[in-house]
């Protein structure tokens, strides 16, 4: 893994509002804003293996900025109760739908952003094949350059 370049002060950034449903992702809103962006998570090089969900800005296929999307893709939900023995628990969602946003810096050489995570299988199958969760892949990529319309998805 390697550390991303830190950016000092406000920078031009893009906020993407992404709607998902099943294995479909679409950008519903793309706004430019100038602000300080959160620091990048450590960047993964070829051979680095992690499991989870994140947004990754790439330049020529190489990761240049990464932001974790912990608990945001809605395959299960956290439920809070008044039961002191089970204040928090999780329940799987069969057909996850929802909206999340990610804000990333505008980098000169960046050309795409990928949403990375485990395959969007049905939870029953995932539970049976727990070991498969180790595998993560691009769930969707969006171009960051050009005149791509909002909502474009690959």
């Amino acid at each position: 893994m390697r550390q991303a370049r830190q950016m000092d002060g406000p920078v031009d950034a893009i906020r993407l509002t992404i709607r998902y449903g099943g294995d479909r992702f679409e950008i519903v809103k793309r706004t430019r804003v100038r602000k300080v962006v959160p620091p990048s998570a450590p960047l993964l090089d070829e051979g680095d293996v992690e499991v989870g969900s994140w947004a990754e800005v790439r330049a020529g296929g190489r990761s240049v900025y990464r932001q974790l999307l912990t608990d945001q893709l809605g395959r299960d939900v956290e439920v809070f109760t008044s039961d002191p023995d089970r204040p928090i628990s999780r329940i799987a969602v069969d057909d996850p739908v929802g909206v999340f946003t990610v804000i990333v810096p505008v980098l000169d050489d960046a050309d795409e952003i990928a949403i990375v995570g485990p395959p969007r299988d049905a939870p029953e199958r995932r539970r049976r094949k727990a070991a498969d969760r180790a595998a993560v892949s691009d769930l969707v990529t969006f171009p960051l350059r050009g005149d791509e319309p909002d909502g474009a998805a690959s």
Partner: protein, 903 residues
């Protein structure tokens, strides 16, 4: 069930640590609160922040400094949230449907009642509109049912430990923290959560690696060897109680929804069981927010404290100034001193506002000031000293040298030269005689003149009399010279047989002033209502002989007073001439204002503002007065038409109200006389434990209803209701502010001739510390023509700080010009200066002045003028006879004036 079901009220930044572009912005949004319930939402926001900032690391300064919190008030038509009748998890819903703006609903996915969702897209769009730089949204739903959901738009109801739920969700969405609990559905419920599958989790607070040398949080491990725990039975949650201290960071088995093979850094954590954040989570939060926290900066802006040219006996304050950029309280303390290192006996430096100042958090850079005072000792003295200031949070210290010297404040001897000729008994135009107007108008001059100056009084008709020799003015209330001058003015009466020899008055004043050698400057103020009818005339005063400044006031129309000669004389000495024109009831303060303006000119002060108004019973008027860092002191003077009815107070820039009772304790002087009330403020003043200096002050005037009622109670005897009378009129007043200042406006109205059609050049020069005010100000002139029509003339800045325009005085009479200069000081503070000037033109105004004879038949002239002069002066025409003729329609004095004027 949508945006139609409510209204977006607006956003309030309730934690402001700096520009939104530089900070991490949390937006808290209301949902399910009606407009009437929004105060409850505000309280819920505060409850959440109190809870958050009580948790480490959010209780740390650097973390708090990174965060702005915005509260978005959205009023829904109905309260709470939908709770559908059918939900798949067997929980018993309340079957509620309500109209709320973001359509909050339990059972958001149709199967889990505790899943509380909102229209996320609408939330994001709404927040985008108000805080485009947002980083995290928390929607608080006004329901006491348990519920919530994570994500960049996190939701929580207000049930039970909802604040913890919200913080936990922020841990996920804002800081990328994983759940540290070791079950999925619950301990004893799960059957497939024994061993974590392969693959290192991406989150920083859970791991499959428990090697102390390579574990991802190895730099945060608290003990060596690293504390660890293992779950003895991977088919269940580890039931062991925490054997370590709460702050221990190690590797404890059971995390990320699995009983074994996954490790968490703390035994308890907000991300496990709502405990305090573990050490790793704290550091992740700190690291995530670090780019949003601009480091504090402290810069000493006054490496030396200089008290330059402080007048004798005058206390002057200077501040040690720090420029501070910080989002938390920064405290500066005088750790040593101020100490006198050299100087004459009696030298002292003091700290009127104490030894400490706390600079409150604010956006951008602000200044912290520690005040030190020095009182001028004797002319020519100098002194040195030092003080040491400590910044309490860091312990940094600065030792600041002090230098000071004392000078004498320039003093002025001024002689009031007052006309007492017979014509001063005539009506001035507003129902008062001219001498009454004079008495009313000259009194404020005597009341306001500064204590260290000198004052004398001369009265003249055909001869001049020294009514009061020049004497020090003295205290604002009890000065002997001031009291004597007040009496001299109050007792000024006309001589029914007196003629007018203005030159005699000027000569006597000149002689008196020549003897007043202890004063730095000398000036006279000449008031007359007519032409010379006797020797010496103005024209006979040798122009080169008058070496004092002459200020002249012509009481009447320009063709009735000696405007031509007086203007020439005044202009030649650096003074000025004003002509009142006819005084009327709507402008009864005109002469008094001229007097006060002349006083300002005599003592080198400037007029800050000078409006007239009328106040009704029960009303309160607030007149703004802009004082700047260039102003040394200021007199705020109220002249009421009826004394004793208007309550007069000052309001400082911070809103403190100074009444006469409060003034004495604040270092501000208050004085009240028959015709004026006055506050004298040396800047900065220290009121209520704080310094009050540059900024917008206000003069507050209130007409007391009880006093008003008592004043007019006699009307009742005639059956006239006071109320109807009071509704028809109030008390006229004028309030002026006169500042001894380093920001000055010198204005003149110069006429090309004294006949109608004359060109008038209007010119104003604005300087700040003697330097022209370049492109920072504008000057306009409000003109009142002889026929009372008005106009506004904008002066052009023809060179830096010099403003000019020309106008034509087309009609006979007095043109009044009110110069108003407004702009910004070098420190960009708003200022205002005013000046009144007049020009008089009349048919025949340019003819050579008339010269009366010597008062004896055959003594230079044999016409009727000399004859009547002789008859009156010799007593051949007695006062009794003159009065009898006057009643019969023959005004011998008026006839005499006519004959002497135009021979």
């Amino acid at each position: 069930m949508s945006a139609a079901d409510g209204t977006v009220i607006g956003v309030t930044r309730i934690e402001d640590r700096g520009p939104a572009s530089s900070k991490w912005n949390l937006v808290i949004v209301s949902e399910g609160y009606t407009a009437a319930q929004l105060p409850q939402f505000h309280q819920h926001c505060q409850d959440f922040l109190d809870h958050l900032y009580g948790l480490a690391p959010f209780d740390e300064r650097d973390v708090q400094c990174a965060i702005n919190v915005h509260r978005l008030d959205v009023a829904s038509n109905e309260s709470t949230a939908d709770d559908p009748a059918v939900c798949g998890d067997g929980d018993i819903p309340s079957a509620t449907t309500v109209a709320t703006y973001f359509d909050a609903t339990f059972c958001g996915n149709g199967t889990i009642r505790r899943l509380l969702t909102v229209d996320q897209t609408l939330v994001i769009d709404t927040v985008d509109d108000h805080v485009p730089e947002w980083d995290q949204i928390l929607v608080i739903v006004n329901s006491t049912l348990y519920g919530g959901a994570g994500g960049t738009v996190a939701t929580t109801s207000i049930s039970g430990t909802w604040e913890n739920i919200a913080v936990h969700e922020l841990g996920h969405s804002a800081f990328g923290l994983a759940d540290e609990y070791e079950y999925y559905a619950g301990c004893g419920v799960d059957t497939d959560r024994n061993n974590h599958p392969a693959g290192e989790p991406s989150e920083p607070n859970v791991t499959l690696n428990n090697d102390p040398n390579t574990i991802k949080w190895r730099t945060l491990v608290t003990d060596s060897p690293m504390r660890t725990s293992n779950n003895a039975d991977c088919s269940m949650c580890d039931p062991t109680a925490n054997p370590f201290t709460a702050a221990t960071v190690g590797a404890f088995e059971g995390a990320h929804y699995y009983h074994c093979d996954a490790y968490r850094p703390g035994w308890d954590c907000m991300m496990r069981n709502f405990g305090a954040f573990c050490g790793v989570c704290r550091q992740v939060i700190r690291d995530t927010l670090a780019p949003f926290n601009t480091p504090s900066t402290l810069n000493l802006m006054t490496p030396t404290l200089s008290f330059n040219d402080v007048p004798e006996g005058v206390q002057t304050a200077r501040a040690v100034v720090f420029d501070v950029a910080s989002c938390v309280d920064e405290t500066f303390t005088i750790a040593a001193g101020p100490t006198v290192l050299s100087g004459p006996a009696g030298t002292a430096f003091a700290t009127p506002l104490g030894l400490q100042v706390v600079s409150a958090p604010a956006t951008g850079t602000r200044q912290a000031r520690l005040w030190v005072t020095y009182t001028g000792t004797a002319d020519g003295d100098s002194a040195t000293g030092e003080l040491t200031v400590r910044h309490d949070r860091t312990g940094q210290t600065w030792t600041i040298p002090i230098v000071a010297n004392t000078v004498r404040r320039p003093t002025v001897a001024v002689v009031l030269v007052l006309d007492k000729s017979g014509s001063m008994s005539a009506d001035a135009g507003d129902g008062r005689t001219r001498e009454q107007v004079l008495r009313d108008s000259a009194q404020p001059f005597v009341n306001v003149i500064q204590a260290d100056n000198g004052i004398g009084v001369v009265a003249f008709d055909h001869d001049a009399t020294e009514v009061m020799p020049i004497a020090p003015v003295g205290d604002l209330n009890f000065g002997v010279g001031r009291s004597t001058a007040r009496s001299a003015v109050a007792n000024h009466t006309h001589n029914p047989a007196g003629f007018t020899a203005i030159g005699d008055g000027i000569e006597m004043a000149r002689t008196m002033l020549n003897g007043a050698t202890s004063y730095d400057h000398r000036a006279m103020v000449v008031l007359t209502d007519g032409f010379d009818t006797d020797h010496l005339t103005v024209d006979e005063v040798a122009p080169g002989v008058i070496d004092q400044r002459v200020f002249a006031i012509g009481l009447g129309r320009p063709n009735e007073v000696k405007a031509t000669a007086l203007t020439t004389l005044a202009n030649g000495t650096g003074g000025s001439m004003v002509v009142t024109g006819t005084i009327d009831v709507d402008d009864q303060f005109r002469l008094a204002k001229y007097y006060l303006q002349i006083l300002a000119g005599v003592v080198n002060a400037d007029i800050v503002t000078d409006p007239d108004s009328e106040i009704l019973p029960g009303q309160e008027h607030r007149v703004p007065i802009d004082l700047t860092e260039t102003d040394i002191d200021a007199d705020v003077v109220l002249l009421p038409a009826l004394p004793g009815l208007i309550d007069f107070a000052l309001e400082t820039p911070s809103g403190q109200v100074i009444t006469p009772g409060v003034a004495a304790g604040s270092g501000i002087q208050f004085a009240q006389a028959q015709r004026s009330s006055q506050y004298r403020v040396v800047l900065p003043a220290f009121v209520g434990g704080r310094s009050e200096g540059p900024g917008q002050w206000h003069a507050l005037m209130r007409l007391d209803e009880k006093k008003w009622d008592k004043r007019w109670s006699w009307l009742r005897e005639y059956g006239i209701p006071i109320e109807s009378f009071a509704n028809a009129q109030g008390v006229k007043y004028t309030v002026g502010a006169y500042s001894f200042t380093n920001l000055r406006m010198r204005a003149t109205a110069t006429q090309s001739s004294f006949v109608p059609g004359a060109t008038v050049t209007l010119r104003a020069v604005l300087t700040e510390y003697g330097i022209p005010i370049d492109n920072r100000a504008a000057v306009r002139v409000e003109v009142v023509r002889p026929d009372t029509t008005t106009a506004v003339i904008q002066l052009a800045e023809i060179e830096p700080g010099v403003f000019e325009a020309t106008s034509t005085a087309a009609m006979q009479g007095v043109y009044r010009y009110r110069f108003i200069g407004e702009g910004r000081t070098l420190r960009w503070r708003q200022f205002r200066r005013e000046y009144l000037a007049t020009v008089g033109v009349w048919v025949g105004g340019d003819r050579p002045p008339d010269v009366p004879g010597d008062g004896t038949p055959g003594g230079g002239s044999t016409d009727w003028c000399e004859l009547i002069t002789c008859l009156r002066r010799s007593g051949a025409l007695s006062d009794e006879l003159v009065e009898r003729w006057r009643k019969q329609g023959v005004d011998i004095d008026a006839l005499h004036k006519c004959l002497c004027r135009r021979r």
